[in-house]
């Protein structure tokens, strides 16, 4: 598959009007991969594909807004969902992209052998048209999440609150999750605004909860479960728990297939119907 990926990239980069190809390259120490932006056809041999290609390259697409030229990009299933949602949100034009689908059977976990937590419950987009694929783009049948993964549904509300206060309390407010997330592309983020200033720099659990609650809300219906937020977090905070829980609730509440699964489908927070259910306390409309 790697050879084919390089061939496709080489061919694309040789065409006039191609700006670059986004893929993964091996780390200098050989243990893992990282994103790479290839500009010359002669450097296409840097491209690799293996179980350590965690990076969601779609996160790099919004920065091509306003420039010219086509961009090639390699995407796994989760990345393709992100890309699809970015196109729907008009952050990048589909016509500018040459999307190469890479059929991923699951990424390596932290020990290199097991399955990454993010891969449980893998969903690919349905019916997405790739410009090229390295194989059939079908979601692999992967085992469900382990039960000991914090089972917040089984907790009482009080236990849940304590769990999140403790987990999110370990956040060091470095903003890496926000920068790594494909869905956080606002030119001025709510947390960067100074008039009004929404968030304080104070090192309190309250501010951390506020930060992560707002971010989760902004991503409701847009989170694709790629866990780049969790990978970027230097403190190892389990950010996936809140974002994935909310994604699941939104999908159930509005019979929504999931962010980027059905091309062009509008995420629930951007739409409404006159027959939406009533929020708590419910009762007569």
């Amino acid at each position: 598959m790697e050879r084919r990926l390089r061939e496709i990239a080489r061919e694309l980069l040789a065409r006039p009007g191609t700006l670059c190809f986004l893929g993964w390259e091996a780390l200098p120490n050989g243990r893992g991969t990282r994103p790479v932006e290839i500009r010359g056809a002669d450097r296409a041999d840097l491209l690799v594909w293996n179980r350590t290609c965690h990076a969601n390259l779609a996160a790099y697409l919004p920065r091509f807004r306003g420039s010219q030229g086509s961009v090639g990009i390699a995407v796994k299933g989760c990345d393709a969902r992100a890309l699809s949602e970015l196109v729907r949100a008009r952050q990048i034009e589909r016509e500018r992209l040459f999307v190469v689908g890479v059929p991923c059977a699951g990424l390596a976990g932290p020990d290199g052998a097991s399955l990454a937590l993010r891969c449980h419950g893998c969903r690919y987009p349905e019916g997405f048209v790739y410009d090229a694929t390295l194989g059939p783009m079908v979601a692999p049948d992967l085992p469900p999440r382990p039960v000991e993964d914090p089972n917040i549904d089984a907790m009482t509300p009080d236990e849940r609150r304590r769990w999140f206060e403790e987990e999110l309390g370990r956040c060091i407010r470095c903003d890496a999750c926000r920068k790594a997330c494909y869905g956080c592309f606002c030119p001025e983020c709510v947390f960067e605004a100074s008039r009004p200033r929404w968030i304080s720099r104070r090192d309190t659990v309250a501010e951390k909860l506020f930060y992560h609650a707002v971010r989760a809300y902004h991503l409701a219906g847009r989170c694709v479960g790629c866990d780049e937020c969790g990978r970027a977090c230097p403190a190892g905070v389990r950010l996936d728990v809140l974002n994935r829980a909310l994604a699941r609730h939104v999908e159930e509440l509005f019979a929504f297939a999931g962010a980027g699964v059905i091309e062009g489908a509008v995420p629930p927070l951007l739409a409404f119907t006159p027959d939406d259910p009533e929020p708590y306390p419910g009762g007569e409309p």
């Binding site: 670059c20 780390l27 200098p28 120490n29 893992g32 990282r34 994103p35 790479v36 932006e37 990076a55 996160a59 790099y60 920065r63 370990r170 060091i172 407010r173 470095c174 903003d175 890496a176 926000r178 920068k179 790594a180 960067e192 200033r197 304080s200 720099r201 104070r202 090192d203 780049e228 990978r231 970027a232 230097p234 403190a235 190892g236």
Partner: protein
């Protein structure tokens, strides 16, 4: 300055003894698999004196993530301003790593310039640092390449050298010797075996990093180095700055509620888009590659020019946590290669 010995089993006791008169900070391990954190004792978790870098470096105890520097209150036509004392009690840090200790001296170069930063100066004056002779944590460690002696670090008030199930402990300054004296009841004479074990410690810190011999102005790096390539992979996330032992940029924010308010000093990073943005809206470093250029030339070139050495202690945190797996060592290598190519 004869060395004494602290049994590992008596560490908790030692912390308690020191805690009578001082605020004691030590690396605390919470969940398995997490990095330790420097916390004020007592803290949830196990105190772990080991060659493992704490998540937030020692610098964070002297320049905290966010601190209240003064409070203000309006009374009629007057505003009463009250400065907050940075520390209530004298402090001691146990088990500080040599890279982190060396970094404090690098930040001193800026913070203790005239006029000195009052908060930093007070914290430095009122904190004793007991360093741990470090045998090296991982392949990211290259403090030995940038003038740090991981086994006998400068700048510490006392030194713990691992031997057997505990550590030799020696004072290096008056402040340090007073601490060792205070611990007298918990310490004992080391055995000959323990003295020898401490003497033959070996650090795995690399000496061959491209950071070695970096102490000069990289005159042409502004133009020649591949900033665009670095920016292509960089997310601008700022984790490197959040964890860096020598980063010290901050911003000031006022928070007001009615007639009361506080002035906060909080960490900032030149990697952030808004960092150089001015009130007019003008932003001289709105592009990521210009911010990366600023960050690395500051650490490698401008610091060397101004102070005679680079502002990096080779701890390796940036490379270890960068989502794009890029650290300052690689940047130094790229600068050198670019210079060679263009020279």
């Amino acid at each position: 300055m004869t060395a004494r010995y602290l049994d590992g089993a008596r560490l908790a006791e030692a912390c308690a003894v020191l805690g009578r008169n001082l605020d004691v900070f030590a690396p605390v391990l919470g969940r398995p698999g997490d990095a330790p954190r420097l916390e004020r004792l007592p803290a949830a978790g196990t105190v772990t004196i080991a060659p493992r870098k704490p998540l937030l470096p020692l610098k964070s105890l002297f320049l905290p993530d966010c601190e209240v520097i003064l409070t203000f209150r309006r009374r009629g036509n007057e505003t009463v301003v009250t400065e907050r004392p940075p520390v209530e009690r004298d402090r001691v840090v146990l088990g500080a790593l040599p890279c982190d200790v060396a970094a404090l001296a690098l930040v001193d170069r800026v913070m203790l310039q005239d006029p000195p930063d009052p908060s930093w100066r007070e914290r430095r004056a009122r904190t004793a640092i007991i360093a741990l002779a470090c045998t090296g944590e991982d392949e990211g460690c290259c403090c030995a390449s940038v003038g740090v002696d991981p086994l006998r670090p400068k700048g510490a008030d006392a030194l713990l050298s691992p031997a057997g199930d505990g550590w030799l402990i020696e004072g290096a300054t008056d402040k340090g010797e007073r601490i060792v004296d205070a611990l007298d009841g918990v310490l004992r004479k080391p055995t000959a075996v323990e003295i020898e074990a401490a003497r033959v410690l070996i650090s795995s810190s690399r000496k061959d990093s491209p950071l070695a011999g970096c102490e000069r102005a990289w005159a042409d790096a502004w133009d020649t180095a591949p900033w665009q390539d670095l920016a292509a992979r960089c997310l601008g996330c700022g984790v490197c700055a959040a964890l860096c032992p020598t980063c010290h940029c901050f911003e000031i924010q006022d928070e007001r509620r009615g007639n009361d308010g506080v002035r906060l000093r909080a960490w900032d990073t030149c990697a952030a888009k808004q960092y150089a943005r001015m009130a007019s809206g003008e932003n001289p470093r709105s592009r990521l590659e210009t911010r990366l250029r600023q960050r690395f030339l500051h650490k490698l070139s401008y610091s060397a020019e101004r102070y005679g050495s680079i502002a990096c202690v080779g701890c390796g945190r940036c490379a270890a946590h960068c989502p794009g797996s890029t650290g300052i060592e690689e940047v130094a290598r790229l600068l050198a290669r670019a210079e060679a190519d263009h020279g």
